[in-house]
């Protein structure tokens, strides 16, 4: 629990400071242009860095696996998210498809492999 509290303190601090510093100090000056551009790209970068390994890597040590249901379910989920732009809907559809894939996939995966 002490370790967990230290983790939360650290996470809380690095979350609060980027929210607080500009409000406190930066009301008159503005950020350099390159830094604004860099910050704008960070969310797309970090989400993709989280997502792609989760879709195509498996095991420890990690290895490439293009037959994971995570990957194949992601394709229709991407299309759904693109068309609807609904976060809640995407989560529900993704979960549903993954659950269905768990029911169906073992048979045809065995057939492919």
């Amino acid at each position: 629990m002490a370790d967990y509290l230290m983790l939360l303190l650290g996470m809380g601090l690095v979350t609060y400071l980027p929210r607080w510093l500009p409000l406190h100090y930066l009301s008159r000056r503005s950020l350099p242009q390159w830094f604004i551009q860099w910050l704008e790209l960070i969310p797309a970068a970090i989400l993709s860095a989280l997502l792609l390994p989760a879709l195509i890597l498996d095991g420890t040590p990690r290895n490439l696996d293009f037959l994971r249901p995570e990957l194949w379910v992601a394709l229709p989920t991407f299309v759904f998210a693109w068309w609807t732009r609904s976060l809640g809907g995407t989560v529900v559809v993704g979960m549903l498809l993954f659950w269905l894939a768990g029911k169906v996939a073992p048979q045809w995966l065995a057939w492919i492999r």
Binding site: M6, W20, L23, W38, A45, L50, L52, G88, F98
Partner: protein, 239 residues
Amino acid sequence: MTPPSSTERPTTLRDGLNAGWPICLGYLPIGMAFGVLAQKAGLTPFQIGLMSIMVFAGSSQFIAISMLASGASAPAIIATTFVVNLRHVLMSSALAVYLRDAHRGLLSLYAYGVTDESFAVNLPRFNDHNWSLSRALVVNHAANLTWFVSTVAGGIGGRFIPEGALGIDYALIAMFICLLIYQIRKRIHLLTAVVAGLTAVGLALLIPGNTYIVIASIVAATVGVIIQRKVLKGNSSNG
């Protein structure tokens, strides 16, 4: 704008809640999904609630849970949280313009609740000059309270949901997919995402642990900025 008075307080609360309820509605399912996943990762409802209060940042809480579940170290989780939440620098900078004369203490309290969602609700209203810091604070704290309650509820309910039921393991990936779609607004975002994804896969194959997330993100965003600047210079239309 009239100065705050005792008769204005109900309007402040009502205006804030009127603006903030869509956030709360959106937080309910996501917060509960977070609670369920956190419970599966071994956190108690108390620990979940503590995180929702002390950190209060949806996506980095999800990331922290997936990193905790895969046995990542605290420094790696904190570093990832930092990079994920750096984007709030942008939002707070945009908000700061409208809050120059604000009370310092209230401003520090307001900073606590700057999220993607509250920013999206508060900024246009500040921009229209029909918004106040107290109304914005109502929005932020209604959102925070909903987040706290729904994550704890998910943590309590999570133990009644069997392993792998209804594809709950996919909730996080599906959420990341939709959040990524939101972020791809121009070609440069797509390019950055592709570079980040491939770099992350390459690094994850080479080095153990979860540092690949931060490294790949920084590399990709830097490559993106360099390409963006090169292209702009090449066009020489606006440099």
